[in-house]
Structures are given as structure tokens and as C-alpha cells.
């Protein structure tokens, strides 16, 4: 039986960041990844400055990119609305739909940037604990409050008012073009079992704006995982599927792998998702009923399927969103409410070499799906907006995550000090030596590596 200081479960961005930070602190770290290969799919999400700085990623080949246009919205009557990185050029594009909306675009972008900046400040630190009575934490809370307040009265009010709103309401206050509103609102329902008229979707739209410049409302893509995997330090074992986390005397003691091998370590950091970790990997009985109930109640409904279209040759296309109107998205969601696959799904397609990777929503995990027909439907929906697509298609694959593989919806009741469950946002669990990181923990999905850094700091006692 081999022994290390820390076992990290999962070689995603947060797992690898944590492993790297811990290894640099002199700990022996092993990362266990169930997949046989790391693959080279891009990592979606803002890579916050503290991660880049701490791991000196800038000199290690980190490439973070946002395509330009960052989104091309398929218009209902054919044609596309290109949303560019340049605010003025985007306004020119919008003018074809509405002169009034074009006028408002720059001010809208500035206001949203201001609000996302406040979120960013919350995301690069452990979640604030509003119930704390520790002086240090109170000081930090005060400073956080001031940092938001420093942005001005309007910004503070804006933020508090906007977070609980629906994306449809927020965007409706600014714009009249349904196509523009829907293209932006689609980012507010991503991976969420809610429609654009549901409260909290304005927050999710702003969440996906974090780290991006004014006028870009989708997260960037990077090669973060590749860069981290190439760094010396932690030992990464591929094809190592953890079957159980060993707990002895209420403390984490190591893990058991599929096949029976056991690895020992006094600290286990799991990025497998809060529910998977605490309900499937830990023997039941170690958690008190209150905590177990809170974990059981984490909402993590799978609503997104990935459709990978293999193409003959490279496709040069900006990301395309098929969400022509708020009503279209809302109706797609209605189907999911009653457990059905959306008759007309919301799509967002990203070209990646000779592949077109499409996120399709809403596809509830429990709903029956005729995959071949669905793949064909996705191609049909995209073909009018991507020249020559149909002729290039060589194969279509539909991947649906299992229900337990999703880490947790980004609803207002499941963020900050409520993520993964109320009072346990500092990466620790009631089992000593067992910690959590990954999208199911603060600051959530689409913020690459940050939870790993914060969890590693918690382990190091920093």
C-alpha cells in the first residue's frame, strides 16, 4: 500500500490546481482520474488572476481565448446577429434589429461589467460567512462590503436588485429586440433547470460574464488542464476509478480503487461533486442526518446534453446560439418541467477543429431520448445558420451525463455561503480530512481552478 499526504480525486481544473498548489508546498500529492486520457477539450471558464499568479501560468503556456464574434445568434427569419468583442461594432450589428437597442448597448455593457466586477471580488476569496463572529472574518466582510460600496451607490443597488431578477426582466428593461434578449438570456439558463423568466437567471447571466471584458457575455475557453497536467509535482494516475473513500474513526484515511487497491492519505480532496462524494463514495452512517439531508437536497438536475458533430475538415465558424426568442427558450423549458425533452431545444455550438460541439438544452436526465433522431434534429436546426454544415457532417454523437454527475445548479440558494450546503462553503466536510472542491463548491461552475486554489489553501491552513 502506497502512502501520500493528499489524495485528489478527479483531474479537472480544480483538482489539478489544488494538486499543484499542495505539491509546491512540499506535500506528496496523487491525483486519481477515472478517465484513461485527459483529452484535449477546452476548459470553459474564467481563469482568475490568483490562479494564474500563484501557479505562474502565464509563463507556462496558458492560453485563454474568446472567439470574435463571441456569439452569433441565429435570427428567426434566417440571418445572424454577430456579437463582437468590440462594443461599438456590436452596436452596429444590433442597429439592424433596433436602433434604440443599439444606442443602449454600450451603457448596458458598462453596467453589467460593473456588477460582474463585484461578483469577481467575491469569487477569488472564500465565500463570506454572514454569521461569523470571528474578528478576522468580520473585517473581511466589512472590506468586501466596502469594495462593493466603493463602486458607487448605483452599483450597489444595481447588484442587489439585479441578482434575484429573471434574465428576461432584466434584459427587457434595456432592450426591445427579442432576438438580442434571447441570445443573452440563453447564458442565464445554461445548465439550469429554469427558464429565462425565472428569478435568479439574471445572476447566472452575470456569472458567465465574470472575468470577461465589457460586452462579452460568455465565459472564455482555455488550455488550463493541459498546462497543469504538463507541470511537475503531483503524480497523476489515469484510469484510476475511486470506489470508496476510507473513513476511520471519523477521519478520512484514504481511498479504495476499483479492483481493490487501497491508497492511504490523511487528507482526501474530492472534486467528484458534493453528492457523489458524500452519498456514493462515503459509507453511509458517517454523516449526521441533518447534514445528510442538506446534501440530498442539493439541486443538480441534468438538463444539458452534448452533441458532438464530427466534420470533414475544419469548420471556421463563430459560436452559434439557436434561441431566437424568449418564448422559444421558455417553451423549451416548459417541456423539461414535465419531464420531457424540449421539442425545440436551445443550442449553442462551438467549432473546435474538425468538430462542432453543441450544448443542447433542455434534455432531462430521466427523459427518454432517441439519440440518432435527436442528433439529426440538431444538425437540422444548425444547418441554416452554418454554411455548408450538412455536407461536412461525418458523424454525430450524443452524450448525456448521468444524474449524479452534475455538481449543483447555480441557483441563488446554492451559491456563496450556501454552496455546496449552508454553513459548509469552506471546502471542509463533517469528516475530518475529507474536503471538497470543483464546480459544486464556491465559486461554482465556469470559474476555472479557483475552488481548487481555495481548498488547497484551506488544507495548508493559509
Amino acid at each position: 500500500m502506497s502512502r501520500s499526504d493528499v489524495i485528489v480525486i478527479g483531474a479537472g481544473t480544480s483538482g489539478l490546481v489544488a494538486a499543484q498548489v499542495l505539491a509546491r508546498a512540499g506535500l506528496r500529492v496523487v491525483v486519481l482520474e477515472r478517465a484513461a486520457m485527459l483529452g484535449d477539450a477546452p476548459d470553459i471558464g474564467w481563469v482568475p488572476e490568483p490562479v494564474v499568479r500563484e501557479l505562474e501560468l502565464a509563463g507556462a503556456g496558458l492560453a485563454v481565448a474568446t472567439p470574435d464574434p463571441w456569439l452569433s445568434a441565429a435570427l428567426p427569419g434566417g440571418g445572424r446577429l454577430d456579437l463582437m468583442r468590440d462594443v461599438a461594432r456590436t452596436a452596429d450589428q444590433i442597429r439592424a434589429l433596433s436602433a434604440r437597442d443599439a444606442e443602449r448597448w454600450p451603457a448596458f455593457c458598462a453596467r453589467m461589467r460593473q456588477m460582474s466586477a463585484a461578483l469577481e471580488a467575491l469569487y477569488v476569496e472564500p465565500a463570506p460567512d454572514p454569521l461569523t463572529s470571528r474578528a478576522g472574518e468580520l473585517y473581511r466582510l466589512g472590506m468586501l462590503g466596502l469594495s462593493v460600496r466603493r463602486r458607487g451607490r448605483q452599483a450597489t443597488i444595481d447588484l442587489l436588485r439585479t441578482l434575484p431578477m429573471s434574465a428576461a426582466d432584466l434584459l427587457g428593461e434595456w432592450f426591445e429586440s427579442d432576438a438580442l434578449i434571447a441570445a443573452l438570456a440563453a447564458g442565464g439558463v445554461r445548465h439550469l433547470c429554469q427558464g429565462p423568466r425565472s428569478g435568479g437567471t439574471a445572476f447566472l447571466m452575470l456569472h458567465h460574464h465574470a472575468g470577461q471584458p465589457e460586452g462579452v457575455f460568455r465565459p472564455p475557453r482555455s488550455n488550463l488542464r493541459r498546462v497543469l497536467a504538463g507541470m511537475a509535482g503531483p503524480h497523476i494516475r489515469l484510469g484510476a476509478r475511486v470506489e470508496r473513500i476510507l473513513v476511520r474513526g471519523g477521519r478520512a484515511a484514504g481511498v479504495a480503487l476499483e479492483g481493490g487497491e487501497e491508497l492511504e492519505a490523511p487528507v482526501v480532496l474530492s472534486t467528484a461533486g458534493p453528492r457523489t462524494t458524500l452519498e456514493r463514495l462515503v459509507e453511509p452512517g458517517w454523516l449526521d442526518p441533518e447534514f445528510a439531508r442538506a446534501v440530498r437536497n442539493i439541486r443538480a438536475r441534468v438538463v444539458t446534453a452534448t452533441v458532438t458533430i464530427t466534420l470533414e475538415g475544419r469548420l471556421d465558424s463563430p459560436p452559434v446560439v439557436v434561441a431566437p426568442s424568449i418564448e422559444y427558450i421558455e417553451r423549451a423549458y416548459d417541456d423539461a418541467k414535465y419531464g420531457r425533452v424540449s421539442a425545440a431545444p436551445v443550442l449553442e455550438a462551438h467549432a473546435d477543429g474538425n468538430q462542432l460541439v453543441v450544448a443542447a438544452q433542455y434534455i432531462p436526465a430521466a427523459a427518454a431520448l432517441e439519440e440518432a433522431a435527436f442528433g439529426a434534429q440538431v444538425v437540422d436546426l444548425l444547418a441554416p445558420h452554418i454554411p455548408n454544415l450538412r455536407a461536412m457532417v461525418r458523424g454525430v454523437r450524443v452524450d448525456r451525463p448521468a444524474e449524479h454527475e452534475y455538481h449543483g445548479e447555480m441557483g441563488l440558494d446554492q451559491i456563496l455561503f450556501m454552496r455546496p450546503v449552508g454553513g459548509w462553503s469552506r471546502y471542509r466536510t463533517p469528516i475530518a480530512g475529507l474536503l471538497l472542491a470543483g464546480p459544486g463548491t464556491h465559486p461554482g461552475g465556469a470559474i476555472a481552478g479557483m475552488s481548487g486554489l481555495l481548498a488547497a489553501r484551506e488544507i495548508l491552513g493559509a
Binding site: I157, N297, G411, M418
Partner: protein, 526 residues
């Protein structure tokens, strides 16, 4: 000061009357001006068909603040609350789910559907009780402005922070969830019985343009849980003589303190000079002077109709313009020759002395919302039904009855707009949906009044027919109600105040806004 009055209150709804009563009680010379021939606003009793009296709009009392009942001595002025003792939800299979005044009986009833839910019910009840207590002090508080650095606001924020801390972690987290979740998700954490969740979630959608799966509805659930009657939580009741009797009692109390009340007196304009109010102008052309004016109308009317735009800062006017109303409820009032028989409980019985909730499943209620989302009224609406004449026989001729049906959803912004045909179509849909559970209903009806949100707006003046004077959504509550920076009943116009449900804490026959606004007026030394 010149003139006969210290203060004029615009609008004689319950909040306006409460406000006037408190001002008069403090020795101010107060005049209430009501546009309609009677006071009450949406809390009125009217004889719509000969011998049949209806609580035309608002129909149950529970949120009226006990301190108001005490301070104004309302029982002495004729307020008499008759408890509503049960709630029954008929199911399509002929079964039902009942909730009774007796806790153990309700528990047994739930156990009939699910023993697990019966277990959870006690714990759920305790939690909601604690949550209601946790929110209560906030309702009675002047909302501090979180963006202000003034000592008063900081002190308010500190007080709020201390209050939350005093709850302890578990309850604070539960409260946070209630503030941000959908009622469906919240109830899913507790119960498995669909009809139980559907019935409970229905109180989270009342007056909102949201479905039970929309985040924000759990808060409305709690808002309705705060019903407090004689100190007993979660007790709903009727006022003897209908809801109008509540208004009459408050009006009598106000008069008792010396307030003057004029009906048929519609205010068209608030007069100002040098950024301060000087009085009001009536539709008749008459002008009445007063150094203080309090509007109990909703924020849109208070600021965008009664006051010149030039008197308001542009940013504030924008905030009021984006305050949303989106009325979603209708009311059907029926005069009955005989009582309907429900399939789940045939004939007469104690269930007719309580509420009947048409909310047979979560999907039923959610589908009702789906229709409204796309601009139609619900083909099969959620309904909350009571028979006031069963408890207060004076409401109908001997042997006959009145039936009050609260209907949701009927969107104010109906595709194509409301007209006589659409109104009757809504009435027909309501009766048809009811027939599923009470097959003989049609033959019992002697008279039918259908009030769409457009009718509610026309008659009561409530913008877009919103029964809360503005949506009770998280982004329109507390320090944001009705607009950031102006949630303490004052306005950008000097000595002009607001006291309607469109201000904190808003909604229901609560009276809290009227009272808190009066305290604000008095604090300013009027």
C-alpha cells in the same frame, strides 16, 4: 399653518384609513379623500345581486397586524373575525386532502396520503413558525438603505445583521433558502405527496406572475404564512359583514380620533410649490390645502399620475416606471340558489365552512401558469373558494349562498386585451373547471360576477389589477419597494408620503404600510 387640515390622505383603502387613524390619533387634523362612493378600496362589501353581499375583491383576513387591531381598538368599532376552519383540496380520483383547525386531525389526514409526509409535517410546521417569527421584526422595520453610509442606515444594517445572527446558522440558512427558492423546490425538500405540495405551493403564487417552480415563490409562501389572528399563527378568517367591515371599522376608528372622510372625491393632482406639497386638486376642480399629503395609491399613480414629472428626479421616475405590476388574478363572485356538491365530499358538510382549493397537482398549477406566460388566461385555473354565507348567514338571503372564487392566472396583458367576450369566456372556464369537482355547480348559480384584472384596475384603481400594488418579487421588496432610496415612505417631493401596499412590507390586508408611514410622517414633525 393655513387651512383646515394638517394632512390629506389620498385613497380610502385599508392602508389609507390606517394611516389617517394613526395621524388623527396623534392629534393631527386629517382628511381622507376617496374616489369611490364608499371607503375600502379593494376591501369592500357590496350587494351585487339583490340580497347577496360579497367581499368583492379581497376576501379573507389574516395578515392585519395585531398592533393595529389593538391601537385602533377595532373590535370596539365593529370588527369581528370569524375563523375559517379548514381547507379541502378535491382530487380528480374522487379523494381529497383536508387540513383542519385541529393539528392532530390534519396530521392523520396527511398520514392517509403518506405516513412519511405526516412525520415531516410537524417539523415543517415548526420551521415555518420560526421563519415567520424571524421575518416578523423585518416587516415592522424601516428598511435601511444598504448603499448608504449614513449612521442611521448603518445602524439599521447592523440591527438587521444582529437579527440574522441571532437566528443561528440552521434557521438563517433556511430563511435564505425561503427567500430565494421556488415553492416547488422548497416543498420537494419536505414532502412527497403531490396534492399536498400543490396546495401548499399555491399560496406562493397568489398575486404573482410566477409559477410554483419559479424562484421567489417560496417567499410569498412565507408571506402568507405570517397570517396572524389574535396571536395565533396561520389562522385565516372572514370579517363578519365581509371584508368591507374591516374597512368600516378602521374608518370608524379614524373618525373617532377626529379624522374626516370624504367619498366621491377623486384627487387628480397633488399641488406643490417650491418642491413641497401645498394640497390637492379634485376632479371637481376644488382645491384643498394641507401641509402634508399621503398617498395610499400604488407607486405608478402616486408618482406618475398625481405629481408633475418635473417635480421628480429623472432617475427616480425611471425606477418607478420599471416597477412591475403584471396583475395575474381574477375574481368570480357567484350568487347561489343552492350549495354545490363536491364529488369528494357529497352534500353539505363542514368543508363548506372552510376553503376549497382547486390545486389537485403541481402540474395542474404549473400548467395554469404556462397559459398565462404566453398571454392567455388559464384554461384550468388555480382557484381558492370560500362560501362566506356558511359562516355569516347575513351575506345571502335565507337558504341561499354566496361563493367567492379567487382565480389565477388571468393575466392583465391578455393577448388581444380584455373585453366583454373574454371576461365571460374566463367565467365559463372557471365554471367548467369547477364542474370537474362539483358537477352540479352550474345548476346552483343565480348570478355571476366576473372581475378580470382590467376590471379590478378600473374599479379599484390598482394598476394592472395587481392585488399587492406591485409584484411581491425579491427585487421589489424591502429597501427596493417601491424604489431604492425611497423605501421609508418619504418621497422626493417635500412632505409628500406614500403609504400603500406598494411600499414596504406590502401586500394583503396587513395595514403595516399605513401604520409605518404614519409613524414616518409624525417623526418628521408634521
Amino acid at each position: 399653518m393655513a387651512g383646515r387640515y394638517d394632512a390629506i390622505v389620498i385613497g380610502g383603502g385599508h392602508n389609507g384609513l390606517v394611516n389617517a387613524a394613526y395621524l388623527a390619533r396623534a392629534g393631527r387634523r386629517v382628511l381622507v379623500l376617496e374616489r369611490r362612493p364608499r371607503v375600502g378600496g379593494a376591501a369592500v362589501t357590496e350587494e351585487i345581486f339583490p340580497g347577496f353581499k360579497f367581499s368583492m375583491f379581497s376576501y379573507v383576513v389574516s395578515l392585519l397586524r395585531p398592533e393595529i387591531i389593538r391601537d385602533l381598538d377595532l373590535p370596539a368599532h365593529g370588527l369581528h373575525i370569524l375563523p375559517l376552519e379548514s381547507s379541502v383540496t378535491p382530487m380528480p380520483n374522487g379523494d381529497y386532502l383536508g387540513a383542519w383547525a385541529d393539528h392532530d386531525q390534519t396530521r392523520l389526514e396527511i398520514a392517509r396520503h403518506s405516513p412519511r409526509d405526516a412525520e415531516a409535517y410537524d417539523e415543517y410546521g415548526r420551521l415555518m413558525h420560526h421563519m415567520a417569527h424571524a421575518v416578523k421584526p423585518i416587516l415592522g422595520m424601516l428598511p435601511p438603505d444598504p448603499a448608504s453610509l449614513s449612521p442611521r442606515d448603518l445602524a439599521g444594517l447592523l440591527k438587521l445583521g444582529r437579527h440574522f445572527r441571532s437566528l443561528g446558522a440552521e434557521r438563517f440558512h433556511a430563511l435564505f433558502k425561503l427567500m430565494t427558492m421556488s415553492s416547488a423546490d422548497f416543498l420537494d425538500e419536505w414532502f412527497e405527496t403531490d396534492v399536498l405540495k400543490a396546495t401548499k405551493s399555491a399560496s406562493g403564487i397568489i398575486g404573482t406572475f410566477l409559477g410554483p417552480r419559479s424562484p421567489g415563490t417560496a417567499y410569498v409562501l412565507l408571506h402568507h404564512y405570517m397570517g396572524e389572528l389574535d396571536g395565533v399563527f396561520r389562522a385565516w378568517g372572514f370579517a363578519k359583514g365581509g371584508t368591507g367591515a374591516v374597512s368600516e371599522a378602521i374608518a370608524a376608528a379614524a373618525r373617532g380620533f377626529g379624522a374626516e372622510i370624504r367619498t366621491d372625491a377623486a384627487v387628480t393632482h397633488v399641488l406643490t410649490a417650491g418642491g413641497r406639497v401645498t394640497g390637492v386638486a379634485l376632479e371637481s376642480g376644488e382645491e384643498i390645502a394641507a401641509g402634508t399629503v399621503v398617498s395610499s395609491l400604488d407607486p405608478r399613480r402616486t408618482f406618475l399620475e398625481l405629481v408633475d414629472a418635473a417635480d421628480l428626479p429623472a432617475a427616480f421616475a425611471d425606477d418607478i416606471r420599471r416597477f412591475t405590476f403584471r396583475g395575474s388574478s381574477a375574481k368570480v363572485n357567484l350568487a347561489l340558489g343552492a350549495l354545490p356538491s363536491f364529488t369528494c365530499m357529497p352534500g353539505e358538510g363542514p368543508h363548506l365552512r372552510g376553503a376549497i382549493s382547486i390545486s389537485p397537482s403541481m402540474a395542474y398549477v404549473e400548467r395554469a401558469y404556462d397559459d398565462a406566460k404566453y398571454g392567455a388566461f388559464s384554461r384550468r385555473p388555480y382557484m381558492d373558494i370560500v362560501f362566506p354565507s356558511m359562516i355569516d348567514p347575513g351575506m345571502a338571503p335565507p337558504g341561499k349562498h354566496v361563493m367567492s372564487i379567487f382565480v389565477q392566472y388571468a393575466p392583465y396583458h391578455l393577448t388581444g386585451g380584455w373585453n366583454d367576450q373574454q371576461r365571460e369566456a374566463l367565467g365559463d372556464a372557471v365554471i367548467t373547471a369547477l364542474e370537474e369537482f362539483a358537477p352540479n355547480i352550474r345548476s346552483c348559480i343565480e348570478g355571476r360576477q366576473v372581475l378580470t384584472p382590467a376590471d379590478i384596475e378600473r374599479i379599484t384603481g390598482l394598476s394592472e389589477g395587481n392585488i399587492f400594488q406591485g409584484e411581491l418579487a425579491l427585487h421589489q421588496l424591502f429597501f427596493l419597494r417601491p424604489a431604492p432610496g425611497w423605501a421609508r415612505f418619504r418621497t422626493p417631493v417635500g412632505r409628500y408620503y406614500q403609504c400603500g401596499s406598494g411600499t414596504h412590507p406590502g401586500g394583503g390586508i396587513m395595514g403595516a404600510s399605513g401604520r409605518l408611514a404614519a409613524l414616518a410622517v409624525l417623526a418628521d414633525g408634521a
